[in-house]
């Protein structure tokens, strides 16, 4: 158990500060600086992290099987945050000690070694989960970044998605006539239908939901090693059991905003038409139409994908030549191997790396995820290790 301080905070926030910025005003085409300011927070304290941790190491079957259990609970108090305040104030406050949040999680690791004849096996499996929750982070903050909605609110995890829930696609004018639709929109069959959360007959800001979080949960890994005479085999598998990821741009929106990246990928071809009514994507429309803004213009779960996955990270098969044989040639040892890196990935959406994310380390998202990260490389190789 313990309490930890955090010193990664900006200086001088206890003063109301005046900062001179360059290139603020021009008179007769000469440039002048200008001054901005930030209100001070006189009673600053350190952030405090309260850490608790409990674990157990167990072993069974003459140490062939070992089990490691771990549970932790961190509560951070007096988090320094720039609070959400009414903008009528005209300025923002520096960081103040307003926040508290918690992280709790557990991890289980199993290791098992055994022999069958000349075969030596060793297997290891681990799984863990971490949940974070905002306990007291001041006023809620709803942000829309690239048409993906986020909410920071007490009781919810950081990196929480927020927006309308889709209810499939409209299939007929009758259905449209009998459904709640957003103000000003005249949808057509093939456009997105939303859930009218408060049943007031209109889709608006009051119909938004917390849609889940973008933090990976139930991370697991499995490794297996086998030795038989000169042969060795190792397999490493890892994955995430529960995660959401959001996507924007041409990788997920057929034709995106047509004029800019007029492309449609193969995985985007499943758009609604009168003959393809159970489509994944709404019908194609011009990008300045009211249907387009209905379908893609408002934050919803349409752009939030299931990002769970299992990935075979590595398979290696090797053979070490008998020592007698190689010592004649003056070598200490010779091992030949083939190696496959990332040969298989199983995920609901094959077109996007399930590990890619819009969040930084602090679960802030400054822009949507366009899937333009470097893809995970598949690597097939072979080699020989020689020791002299």
């Amino acid at each position: 158990m313990g309490i930890l301080g955090n010193q990664e905070i900006a200086d001088y926030q206890y003063f109301t500060t005046y900062t001179v910025y360059s290139n603020i005003a021009g008179f007769d085409n000469n440039i002048y600086s200008g001054t901005g300011f930030q209100l001070g927070s006189p009673d600053l304290k350190w952030e405090k992290v309260n850490t608790r941790n409990i674990g157990a190491d167990l072993s069974f079957l003459n140490d062939k099987l070992s089990v490691n259990l771990d549970y932790f609970y961190n509560k951070t108090n007096d988090i320094l945050l720039s609070p959400i305040t009414p903008t009528v104030l005209g300025t923002t406050l520096g960081d103040v000690n307003i926040g508290s949040m918690e992280n709790r999680g557990w991890e289980v690791t199993l290791n098992y070694h055994f022999k069958t004849g000349d075969f030596n096996h060793s297997a290891s499996f681990n799984i863990g989960n971490t949940e974070n929750k905002a306990l007291d982070l001041g006023n809620p903050q709803i942000r829309v970044v690239d048409n993906v909605g986020f909410i920071q609110q007490n009781g919810l995890p950081l990196g929480a998605y927020y927006g309308l829930k889709t209810d499939g696609l409209f299939q007929s004018y009758d259905e449209i006539a009998n459904s709640a639709i957003p103000i000003g929109v005249t949808p057509q069959p093939g456009d997105v239908k939303f859930v009218d959360r408060n049943n007031d007959g209109v889709i608006d800001d009051n119909d938004r939901y917390y849609l889940g979080d973008g933090f990976p949960h139930y991370n697991f890994g499995f490794s297996y090693n086998l030795n038989y005479k000169g042969f060795d085999l190792s397999v490493l598998i890892q994955g995430v059991g529960k995660r959401l990821q959001s996507l924007r741009g041409d990788i997920y929106m057929p034709f995106h905003n047509g004029a800019w990246y007029p492309v449609i990928f193969k995985h985007e071809l499943d758009t609604w038409t009168v003959t393809n009514t159970d489509a994944r994507f709404p019908r194609l429309t011009t990008d300045n139409s009211s249907s387009f803004s209905n379908n893609w213009g408002r934050p919803s779960d349409l752009v939030i994908l299931n990002a769970k996955y299992i990935r075979v990270k590595n398979i290696q098969l090797g053979y070490t030549l008998p020592e007698k044989l190689v010592s004649k040639c003056g070598f200490k040892s010779v091992r030949a191997f083939i190696n496959l890196q990332n040969p298989f990935t199983f995920s609901p959406n094959s077109f996007i790396d399930p590990e890619s994310t819009e969040f930084d380390n602090l679960l802030n998202a400054s822009g949507g995820n366009s899937g333009r990260n470097y893809p995970t490389l598949k690597f097939y190789g072979a080699g020989v290790n020689i020791n002299f």
């Binding site: 158990m1 003063f15 304290k45 829309v144 905003n257």
Partner: protein
């Protein structure tokens, strides 16, 4: 300063069967409760800032920066029927299509930006007295500049939102959570009395007395023009007439202004008015200023022709605007007085030269700074970089591009240092003409002092364009003056506020916005003019914006919201 640092390291271990329980307390910092007295070296604090005139000037500069912007001007223009957004989403476009909800980003951003500007003004006014070695005249002038800016920002707020929180001293955080909305009329009364004061004080220089290096600073003439506009938006025509008449007739007192003419080529005067060469000319009353390479705006990247390096044509002039330009004979192209020589198949010839200065159309002769010209084609099938292709391509979707305010000195990065004019003398003349006609039908002499010189400067020579149309009724003259105002001030961010005060939203912003005839569309639909976007206008809702949703969530006293949201 006193700071205690104690570190403790403890390790508990409970060995019970196979389970152990481990925890650590690595380090604990204690900060003493004494107030720190170390001051930052890279920033100023409240105690160290207010020491000199130049520091006060820096805050004033920030207020100038927050008063207005090119972006705001173009955004306001997008709220009108002069420009239509044709690529993806945009907040003004959502408003015009009747889809805006209280969570719209623009509602929140404008509110936040405006109150940021108000705050700067209030900080200035609350602290300026702390500077002791400041000449009285300098101080008085700076205070009146700040008061002008504060009034200008409140004026924007009431025009967008109606009733808004109103205060003239800095508010505390506590108050920010509780402040309620003050009726627009009360805030307008304040704006008028501030401007009356500023005009009466005489602390601001006239444009005649403004030193050249001070070009861009607020003058007495700007205060009078602003006062006239503030009354105009309230339809107080008597006040408008009085103020504009004073500006026209008592120029020794308010500064000498005149319609800009380009001596080298008179018929290019209007064209040249919006070029970098002509900044701070005799017509300009107040600019939002920019400086090449250092303080710039980039909106042209979505409005200029593609062959002029625009990235994408996202905001296009409408056919509705193009149709407002008269023929050189001084006759309209539509309606009962339609010019018989006007040919819909060759619509851009023999038109008001301001069309050429404002809008790029098919077969447009683009003038480069070095005097060379390029032909811009926009008709479908003309197969140039600029030609209309379809509603989803990056070229124009109306057949038109924007020319006015295109800065021909800017590089490929589209960063323009061209000033945006906030008030100019032609506006004063147009306000005068409108006020005269509303009070009682405009007279020949009033016409000859206002509309006639504007049309002469535009390049009209025909008598029908220049002479007083004596046979027209007051109502017909109203239409003529309003049309003149729309054409002269197109792409200056004023049209939306005219629509608002004339209450013509239902007429001009409900239904389709159109593009040109040469897009290959069905001749039986709207005469073959492209339907580009469908607007919806609700009289009950759309003359005001919604109070930002997140602000109402933080402060319930801002409710009830404006009707319709």
């Amino acid at each position: 300063m006193e700071r205690a640092l104690i570190s403790i390291f403890k390790n508990y271990k409970h060995e019970e069967t196979d389970l152990y329980f481990a925890g650590i307390i690595p380090i604990v910092y204690f900060l003493s409760c004494q107030k720190l007295s170390v001051s930052p070296t890279d920033k100023f604090t409240d105690e160290s800032y207010w020491t000199s005139v130049s520091k006060a000037q820096l805050v004033l500069n920030m207020a100038y920066n927050q008063m207005y912007s090119a972006n705001t001007m173009w955004q306001d223009e997008q709220l009108s029927d002069n420009l239509v957004h044709t690529y993806g989403a945009s907040d003004p476009f959502s408003i015009r299509r009747g889809e805006a909800t209280p969570a719209l980003g623009l509602f929140a951003n404008e509110w936040k930006g405006d109150y940021g500007g108000i705050k700067t003004c209030l900080v200035f006014l609350d602290n300026i007295d702390r500077i002791t070695d400041i000449p009285e005249a300098t101080k008085a002038r700076m205070i009146d500049e700040i008061r002008f800016i504060r009034a200008f920002i409140y004026f924007r707020l009431v025009n967008y939102y109606g009733a808004v929180p109103f205060f003239t001293d800095e508010i505390t955080l506590d108050e920010a959570y509780k402040v309620s909305r003050t009726p627009k009329s009360e805030i307008m009364t304040f704006i008028h009395s501030e401007l009356d004061d500023i005009i009466k004080n005489g602390n601001l220089p006239t444009s005649d007395n403004l030193a050249q290096e001070e070009n861009g600073r607020i003058t007495l003439g700007a205060a009078v023009a602003f006062q006239a506009r503030a009354y105009l938006y309230e339809n107080n025509y008597q006040k408008v007439k009085d103020l504009t008449t004073e500006m026209m007739n008592d120029q020794d007192k308010y500064g000498h202004y005149s319609l800009f003419t380009y001596a080298a080529k008179k018929d290019m005067s209007y064209f040249m008015l919006f070029t970098p060469e002509s900044e701070y000319n005799s017509e300009v009353i107040l600019d939002e200023t920019y400086v090449p390479n250092l303080k710039t705006w980039t909106n042209m990247t979505s409005m200029a022709p593609i062959s002029k390096k625009a990235q994408i044509s996202a905001d296009n002039p409408t056919q509705e605007l193009v149709d407002c330009y008269l023929t050189m004979n001084g006759l309209p192209v539509k309606g009962a007085d339609k010019d018989p020589s006007y040919n819909e198949k060759d619509p851009y010839v023999n038109r008001d030269p301001r069309l050429y200065a404002t809008i790029v159309y098919d077969n447009y002769k683009w003038l480069n700074k070095d005097g060379s010209t390029d032909i811009i084609r926009t008709a479908k099938g003309s197969n140039t970089e600029d030609s209309y292709i379809s509603p989803v391509d990056r070229q124009t979707k109306t057949g038109y591009y924007v020319h006015k305010y295109f800065d021909w000195t800017m590089g490929d990065n589209f960063q323009s240092g061209l000033n945006i004019i906030m008030f100019r003398y032609a506006d004063v003349l147009l306000m005068n003409a409108e006020a005269c006609n509303e009070i009682s039908k405009i007279t020949e002499s009033q016409w000859n002092e206002t509309i006639r010189p504007i049309r002469e400067r535009a390049g009209f020579t025909a008598a029908a364009a220049l002479n007083y149309p004596a046979n027209k009724s007051q109502a017909e003259l109203r239409d003529i003056i309003r049309n003149e105002r729309r054409v002269e001030l197109a792409m200056e961010g004023l049209r939306w506020f005219d629509i608002k005060r004339w209450k013509i939203g239902q007429q001009v912003l409900n239904g389709y916005m159109h593009g040109f005839k040469f897009g290959g569309s069905d001749a039986n639909v709207d005469g073959g003019y492209l339907r580009v976007a469908q607007y919806q206008f609700s009289d009950n809702r759309d003359y005001l914006w919604s109070v930002p949703l997140d602000q109402m969530d933080l402060n319930a006293n801002l409710k009830p919201n404006n009707p319709g949201y």
